[in-house]
């Protein structure tokens, strides 16, 4: 299967994961393998198993239930569950007559044998051999360089390990390597670049095929009982195959030429004289023109293709080199389009065009629908947690075709077999099956797909009440809520989902815990009441009024898509959305909004908006508009245009705020000024591996001519104004291939604020460099990633100066009728800019990472669930010198609905932090994760209060799970800020903070154990205890006394 839309993550999954899984499997041999050979006489070629002719009637098999994606690990399930799934799928396959499968999943040997012995179906072992990147000596290389000696050595060694592991496994038919690897010759090297352009790819292909030959030759020495092949992309480089691969037994190829394979048979015979097997071919079952499922045309194409293959097989009087093939594919895969989103929806987006499929091809339009290639449709899970499959017309057609092997027939027999297929009847069968399945799923315009019930009971207390009331001081409350999930599909082009939340009681957990549902807490306000007393109107002030039963029902999230001819439209409301950092938004103007649980604490409903993505002639255009397109955004629209020019990839982005928000993202978070930003970026990777990014930005031009005051070194106060150049920013980044070294330089004028600074490893990056997207700076950052074996060392440095320093506090005064205005720290509301997170800094850090299983990368966002190393860790720290003080931060003061400055800034100070994360999987049923932090860091708003705004803290977090059923997690923090952002904003430090949480899963979640989805969808019961204490005598915020605590008993029931 070509990697047409596979991202780096898929490449990781299909490449590294497969290898790592196989290498980690126990060394089990099944010493009863069949002897498989190829045979040729004047009638053509045959494959033979133990001497008997064997024609491969195959499918490409994969199993990914709805709601899952490429990370789904079937063989990480319990043996019982695996058995149920295999029996379901392979039972259906056996009924169809399938005798062989090819799969991207590396099936463990014992299950290869199980499939063979229970269902009579043999397997092709097909390592992808670096097709989508490979881990070379601990370093992930996205574009495998087959000319690199070290890469060749690693690949050769690993492939031999594969062969050794499977060679005696009963049920193995053949070894195959790669997957259209000839389409992925994307590496660069000086040696290659010095060749004329027309010869460069051929030179690369030589390295590829010569390596294939080495791998196969070595493999045959290990496994003499199985043939060896490759999975080539069509017949490209067939001359090189002929020249360089004398050991090849079978020509394996993925072919998408439409209903006929045209001259492929003759060319293969002439050039190679080898038997031919198609490892992929077929058709999707969605008609991009009529925009509906099209079972018949899929079946027609497959029928024509198989008829041609049967005619080209042994003894039919033609080339005789067809020995079988694998239909792409067995089941639909619902993750293919967006890969990590809308996994519960079968998208109808056509992602590429192929004129060979005439039934739905139209000029300038895509017609290949990635999520619709199955000859069985992907159904919902049944009561045993097995994803059901609904046979399409193609299944029934293939059932008739596979009832006979061409090796049992003569030419007339083949003609009769295909002439006897009653397509109308079989299509009717497929359509009836579809209707029955839809009926079974109760598919309506709007349908309830599931939901969950949550309940909790809370017992809480604090020192002040205990001192006052003794044993009666504990208070009890309870809460309940329900989530109902709906899907809707009003027509073929529109589909979506939404979740409705319904509150019962709301437990009182604040201030120890804020949580989703707090919107329904009773609200007390004071108001003035007017009443008439003795004929006079009297105002009674400050009368308390309490509102109960507030906001009991709300839409929790919503998303819908419309697929049009010229553009796709997506409406989103409180569903995860990602930044455009990988699409040229180097300035980070569109921020990522994926922390849905974090927003739920404050009942924030970001992101909200509408995205229109162009197609066809408009495919490079994206338009985004909404009241809050990312968390904290002002109402705005954004426009993005990508293009290629002068060998650079360019991206133009304009962002325009339409209004200013009237509240922050949480009760104290500030609103930001209405703003306008326009950015242009360019990037290019040179053949020598050096990557260059250039960018410019115009930000806040509306602030030009605004005035600000500043002070020079002599103490003179100046009134200055924003000039044109102060709205400009420039950025350049060079990344060298050697140890992934990068240097980044940035100049941003006083008001040239950008957005988020993207970090190398995203949200899991351990870096504490004080990155800031704000303007008023000149900055240089450099770093590298040094890999040695399973270790990775990441040194990084940052140096930043301000263009204008923060203002000190000099009180204004009047002497003799003369005003001495003094200065005050600026803030971002009343001044065009302020020195805050963008303050001067000199920072350096070093992190060491040990992770022996690269397939589950240590810094992946879901590594907590996926890390499979017995032991992996990182450790490191960051030291930052802040040589100057800051201006004043703001906070949002809800009673007046405005930002208010703290009034003073943070002092110059050196801060530091060290941390370590440790993951342990001592055995398959236990996992432990520890996070340890020690730091000396400033607050993020209030420079006053405890320790003058600086915390000298220690934190220890842990989580443990046993048998993927029992979970125990918690933390201990000493002298740290409280758990939510506003604690750090207001410098609220506590001497001790504890949390202990134990929970138990009750039954399966219906999804893969140990996954993120498993956490979210599990039915569970648990208990959580929290404790927070101030230092003895700490007078600040002591209304609850020196300590407070609560215990929460909770349960979640999924349905």
């Amino acid at each position: 299967m070509a990697g047409i839309s596979l991202t780096k993550r898929v490449k990781v999954a299909f490449g590294l994961f497969v290898l790592a899984l196989a290498l980690c499997l126990p060394q089990v041999s099944y010493a009863q393998s069949d002897v498989v050979t190829t045979y040729k006489d004047e009638n053509g070629w045959q494959l033979r198993v133990n001497g008997e002719p064997y024609y491969m009637k195959g499918v490409v098999w994969g199993y990914t239930p709805r709601g899952q994606n490429y990370t789904y690990n079937l063989f990480g399930q319990s043996d019982d569950q695996i058995r149920k799934i295999l029996d379901y799928d392979f039972g259906l396959m056996a009924e169809m007559g399938v005798n062989t499968i090819r799969t991207f999943t590396m099936i463990p040997p014992k299950w290869v044998t199980y499939i063979y012995e229970e269902h009579g179906i043999m397997s092709i072992i097909n390592p992808l051999m670096g097709r989508y990147g490979y881990n070379i000596n601990g370093k992930w290389v996205p574009f495998t360089d087959y000319s690199d000696p070290a890469t060749r050595e690693v690949l050769k060694r690993d492939m031999q390990v594969f062969v050794e592991r499977y060679k005696d496994t009963k049920g193995v038919l053949m070894f195959a390597f790669g997957n259209e690897s000839n389409y992925g010759l994307s590496w660069s090297s000086f040696e290659i670049e010095n060749l004329p352009e027309g010869e460069q790819n051929t030179a690369k292909a030589r390295y590829l095929y010569s390596l294939f030959e080495e791998v196969i030759a070595a493999g045959k020495a290990i496994a003499p009982n199985q043939p060896f092949t490759i999975v080539n992309g069509d017949l490209q480089y067939i001359d090189l195959i002929q020249e360089l691969m004398p050991s090849l037994d079978v020509l394996g190829s993925n072919v998408y030429r439409g209903k006929s394979f045209t001259d492929l048979w003759a060319v293969a015979e002439e050039k190679l004289d080898l038997p031919v097997a198609f490892f992929e071919f077929g058709s999707d079952a969605f008609n991009a023109r009529s925009f509906q499922e099209d079972q018949l045309n899929q079946a027609l194409i497959l029928k024509d293709q198989w008829e041609e293959m049967y005619q080209k097989s042994y003894g039919m009087g033609e080339e005789g080199n067809s020995i079988g093939a694998f239909i792409f594919e067995w089941r639909d895969e619902w993750w293919k389009y967006l890969q990590i989103e809308q996994l519960d929806i079968q998208n109808t987006n056509a992602s590429w065009a192929n004129q060979g499929y005439e039934f739905d091809w139209a000029p300038g339009q895509n017609n290949m629908n990635e999520e619709w290639f199955g000859i069985v449709a992907l159904g919902p899970s049944n009561s045993e947690g097995v994803a059901t499959a609904r046979p399409r017309t193609a299944y029934y057609v293939m059932q008739q075709i596979f009832s006979k092997s061409p090796l049992e027939l003569d030419r007339d027999g083949v003609d009769q077999l295909f002439a006897g297929i009653n397509l109308e009847l079989l299509d009717l069968k497929g359509e009836v099956g579809k209707l029955a399945a839809e009926s079974a799923e109760d598919k309506r315009r709007l349908r309830l797909t599931g939901g969950r019930l949550e309940g909790e009971m809370v017992l809480r207390g604090n020192e002040a009440r205990i001192d006052e009331e003794g044993d009666d001081a504990l208070s009890f409350s309870d809460g309940q809520m329900a989530f109902l999930d709906f899907e809707f599909q009003p027509n073929d082009r529109t589909q979506g989902q939404m979740t409705v939340n319904i509150l019962g009681n709301v437990a009182n957990k604040q201030p120890l815990e804020f949580s989703y549902g707090d919107r329904g807490r009773p609200l007390s306000i004071q108001t003035n009441e007017r009443t008439r007393v003795g004929g006079e109107i009297v105002v009674i002030e400050d009368v308390p009024v309490t509102f109960n039963d507030r906001e009991r029902v709300e839409i929790y999230d919503f998303s819908a898509t419309y697929e049009g001819e010229l553009a796709d439209v997506e409406a989103f409301y409180h569903t995860s959305r990602f930044h455009w950092g990988y699409e040229g938004d180097h300035w980070g103007l569109l921020r990522e909004t994926t922390d849905i649980p974090g927003m739920d604490i404050w009942n924030a409903k970001a992101p909200q908006g509408l995205e229109i993505t162009g197609k066809g002639d408009f495919k490079n255009l994206t338009f985004l508009i909404g009241p809050e397109v990312y968390w904290g955004a002002n109402p705005k629209f954004m426009f993005k245009y990508d293009f290629r020019w002068a060998n650079f990839d360019w991206t133009f982005i304009h962002s325009e705020d339409l209004a200013r928000r009237d509240s922050g993202v949480d009760p104290t978070d500030t609103t930001v000024r209405q703003n306008r930003q326009t950015a242009l970026t360019a990037e290019r990777e040179f053949p020598n591996g050096i990557k260059l990014e250039l960018g410019g930005i115009i930000s806040a031009p509306e602030e030009i001519d605004e005035t600000f005051d500043r002070i020079d070194r002599q103490g003179n106060v100046f009134l200055d104004e924003i000039e044109n150049e102060d709205a400009l920013g420039f950025r350049a980044k060079v990344t060298f291939p050697w140890q992934e070294t990068y240097v980044k330089a940035t100049h941003q004028g006083l008001v040239a604020d950008a957005g988020t600074v993207h970090r190398t490893f995203g949200v899991m990056d351990p870096s504490r460099l004080p990155n800031s997207g704000d303007g008023n700076k000149q900055e240089i950052e450099a770093g590298m990633i040094v890999r040695f074996g399973d270790y990775m060392l990441m040194p990084r440095v940052l140096y930043r100066d301000n263009l204008v320093h923060a203002n000190p506090t000099i009180f204004p005064s009047i002497e003799g009728g003369v005003l001495l205005p003094g200065t005050q720290p600026r803030d971002t509301d009343t001044d065009p800019f302020a020195v805050l997170g963008n303050r001067e800094a000199r920072s350096a850090e070093l992190y060491l990472t040990y992770d022996p299983t690269g397939a589950t990368q240590f810094y992946d966002w879901d590594n907590d669930w996926r890390e499979d190393a017995k032991f992996a860790f990182n450790i490191g720290g960051t030291y930052t010198e802040y040589p100057t003080f800051t201006d004043s931060y703001l906070f949002f003061f809800e009673p007046i609905g405005q930002n208010v400055p703290f009034g003073t800034g943070f002092p110059a100070e050196d801060v530091w932090g060290v941390s370590s994360r440790i993951v342990m999987n001592p055995n398959p049923s236990a996992r432990y994760i520890f996070d340890i932090m020690r730091g000396f860091e400033q607050a993020s708003g209030n420079p006053g209060g405890k320790n003058d705004g600086t915390a000298d803290y220690f934190e220890f977090h842990w989580s443990a799970e046993w048998n993927r059923k029992h979970f125990f997690s918690g933390y201990y923090k000493q002298d740290a800020f409280g758990p939510y952002d506003f604690f750090r904003q207001f410098n609220l430090q506590y001497s001790d903070q504890w949390q202990l949480d134990y929970s138990m899963l009750l039954g399966g979640s219906g999804v893969q154990f140990g996954s993120v989805q498993d956490e979210e969808r599990a039915t569970r019961v648990g208990i959580r205890a929290q404790y927070r204490a101030l230092e003895e005598g700490d007078e600040l915020f002591d209304v609850n006394g020196d300590y407070q605590f609560q215990t929460i008993l909770y349960f979640t029931y999924q349905f």
Binding site: G233, D234, P687, V717, F718, D801, H805, G817, L819
Partner: protein, 261 residues
């Protein structure tokens, strides 16, 4: 499947195998270096010719107020911040902080402005600036009072300053409309307190406003509403307030009530 992947990769290969473009790369690296060096040299200083020194600003002593906009000095208008004649436009007006009563605040500035008409214009700018920066009843009240002062200074028996009169009335009305429940705090009478410290007491600004409008003795200024004082009561009724004036000699027992009448 094949088609797009093939085309994409072929295109990528073709593009990526062009000559290295060393000159361009070299230029980019040089640019980066220039940026870095530039960044290290400035040290937070603007050029010497940027901005104008404002170490000392002479306050106005005249009484001619040019209104920067129609509602200058009336909440929520903030155009006073852009008024080139405003000496306080760039000055941070520090509000009184009850947690830190000893810190300098706007009243220090207020008290430093010369009393009498020569300070009225400066007082207007001080309080109007404070109001624009921090909407509060106190800031609105003293803005109105300063306008009242200017009206008095510019008026005589034959010729009253109508423009400033209306501005002052708008400012007083804004207090009632926008900050009806606000108070200001006075300190008084240390001799009478047990510890000899001044005693703070709050005064409702709505009553103070009505008193200022109604009684010339309250301010020592010419009344904004010409004619009989009962005209003040009618004006207040027109604004939506009823006022029962204080009963001399007690001048703090007036009652003003908001509502529809």
């Amino acid at each position: 499947m094949k088609s797009l992947g093939f085309m994409k990769m072929t295109k990528l290969n073709r593009d990526e195998t062009r000559p290295a473009g060393i000159k361009l790369l070299f230029a980019a690296v040089l640019s980066v270096t220039a940026l870095v060096l530039g960044g290290c040299s400035n040290g937070g200083e603007r050029d010497a010719d940027d901005g104008i020194p404002i170490n000392a600003i002479t306050l106005p002593t005249d009484v001619v107020l040019n209104l920067a906009c129609e509602d200058v000095g009336v909440h929520p208008e903030t155009c006073v911040l852009d008024d080139p004649e405003n000496p306080f436009a760039t000055t941070t007006i520090i509000e009184f902080n009850p947690n830190f009563p000893g810190l300098d605040n706007k009243f220090e500035l207020f008290n430093s402005i010369p009393a009498g008409p020569s300070g009225a214009k400066a007082r207007f700018y001080l309080w109007a600036t404070a109001l624009a920066r921090r909407p509060s009843g106190e800031n609105q009240f003293y803005t109105a009072l300063a306008l009242h002062e200017l009206f008095d200074a510019n008026s005589n028996v034959l010729d009253e300053d109508e423009l400033i009169r209306e501005q002052a009335k708008k400012a007083y009305r804004s207090l009632l409309d926008n900050f009806f429940g606000s108070v200001t705090v006075f300190e008084c009478c240390p001799a009478a307190s047990p510890d000899g410290e001044p005693v703070a007491f709050a005064i409702p600004l709505n009553e103070l406003t009505a008193d200022n409008l109604y009684r010339t003795d309250a301010t020592g200024l010419r009344r904004l509403v010409p004619g009989d004082p009962i005209n003040v009561l009618e004006l207040l009724l027109e604004w939506g307030y009823s006022y029962q004036p204080a009963s001399p000699p007690n001048f703090d027992d007036g009652v003003i009530v908001a509502g529809e009448f």
